[in-house]
Amino acid sequence: MILKNEYYKAKSLTLGVMKSFLSMSYNVIRRLYGAEKITTINYPIESYLYSKNQMGLPRLVLDKKGRSLCTSCDACQKVCPTNALDISGKEGQEPEVFNLDVGKCIFCGWCADVCADKAIEMSDEHIIAAHAEESLIFSFNELKSKGRRPNPEIKNQVNSEGMEG
């Protein structure tokens, strides 16, 4: 398909300016008063609705008794493309050391895919800021409690503080 010749002919300047102005003002009015009113959200009081399978920080899945399903099989450590995981322990038991370096992690989800026991899953936690490199290394116990949706009570606290401030 060869492009139409008329595309190469300029519109008259007045017509062009008028059309652009109309188009712009139509959009301005639509944005301000129309159904497509775009607003920012009041973060962190409200949070954006993420998708179900969000690729956040990897977390350990617990059974009903609060124990990890991990059997120290090392499969995730081997498959990790950036060597972010450091695991040691006897196979078949809970690992002695299970460290995740978030500074290296690229959130690709391979550890969750490869796990035969479904002991790792990708959570929706993505706000990971720290002051030092060491605090970016999450240990076994920290990973157990990571990645839950924020507690509604804490939300209210932030809200009330915000109102007072």
Binding site: L3, Y8, S20, P81
Partner: protein, 528 residues
Amino acid sequence: MFDFYDQLKQEFGENLKKKDSFLEMKLEAVHFHQLASQLKNKFGFIFLSDICGVDNKGDSKKEKRFTIIYHLLNLEEYCHLRISIDIDEETKLSSVGATWPSSKRLELELRDLLGILFDTELGAGFLNPSDYGGFPLRKDFTPNVNGPVSILSTSFPDDPSIDADQRGVRSWVNIGPHHPVMKNNVRMILELEGEYIRRCQYETGFHHRGFEKQAEKLPWPTLITLIERLNSQAPFMCTSTWCHLIENSLKLQIPERAMAIRMVFIELTRIQDHLECIASCAVAAGNESVYFICQQGRELVYELFERMSGSRLNPALNCIGGVKYDIPIGWITDCFEALKKMDDLLTHIETLFTRSSIWLDRNMVSEINAGRALDLGITGPVLRSCGVNYDLRKVNPIYFYSDVEFEIPLGVRGENYDRYLVRMEEIRQSISIVIQVLDNLPIGEVSKIVENQIPPAGIHYSSLESSNGELGFTVVSDGESDFPWRLKVRSPSFMNIIALPEMIQNRLLDDALMSFSSLNINPGELDR
């Protein structure tokens, strides 16, 4: 095709082998140099798409040190010829730059990264300084971390055509490395005479990550995570090409639904990348409003990505054997809604830009001749804007591209404005492809479990029409080890940037950035 193949068979006899859709030939170095002009003029291999050098040290099956693979293309017959040449460490290779000008930069890369000798002087390199002390892509390379490394000199040699008085009038201007129009870091050095650009150089390598060397140290299954990070604007294209390559080499048929999902996401990525390109053109021209309209369009696509796979920029969606997730419930409706909004946005951009006299005046510059574009190895929308009808989706259709209806927009003059028009029309065509595929989405599973992901021994090549050109991977595998022996990226940005100095010569300084952004160069892909 058969006649053409018979003709070639008559000429080259037993040397020529047919492997899948490629033709393969093994030649001696001297012999190839003699045949080069014959291949171009008699058999129509006018397009040199890539040169890949492989170091065979440690491979017991190969006698000679290096293998050089030339990828030649006959555009009329769509015939892909692969010529491999085995050479020793001391053998001097002859440059084929006289026949295929696009080989110049690729040969420099061979010289600087693999240490292959050439019998003619190729000029200054752009990758390593001369005292770098080693060739990084060789197998026995150990980096000299503490040694002194000089900086590559980027300066203009004296122009012999002008005298000293005129030389005094000229001044230099640096644009970049950091600039809002450039998506990452590239530096342009311009020699000006008043407002006019007389000469241009560009410096690349700010974004170099040792991609090809890193790939040799990652096992096959996890390599896809690195591939995804090749091009930050179109990561899905990279992984699709990679998965297609591995699946092709293993003769694996992926489920139909996975093919359809991949097509949908390839086209969505194309829409997103074209919008990004138009946005950066608009910023270069000083038009902020179109920039924000384009960003709105990209946001629509990113939201679709996020709902599907959970991440926005790098949707870790592809895997060998299909795609990871099925389409969630309600996604298709959302996709249609987003595409409808996209259509509104496109109409809005067209009202502001197409046929607008200001946009026309500023963009009717920097033309590339179609013949020159083919010589330089340019592909993608830039080539199509010159009027060359070459789109891999039509000439070598994979998945369901042969079943959907779409057209290839072709420009007339090869100017910036043509590139803008071609991109706008391609977005519309992509929208139509997505709608057609989603209307007839096959049912079934979305992925197959692939136990063995190691391709059989040999050279494999696969390419896909990415948003800025033909993106291809050459992979050399030994069939046993967990790591690829060599991975070479045929990156469209690497080839497209060659046209830049010619495009903006004798143009105004204002046009430089617009021409640059209309090429849609992604430094992640450019430097690798």
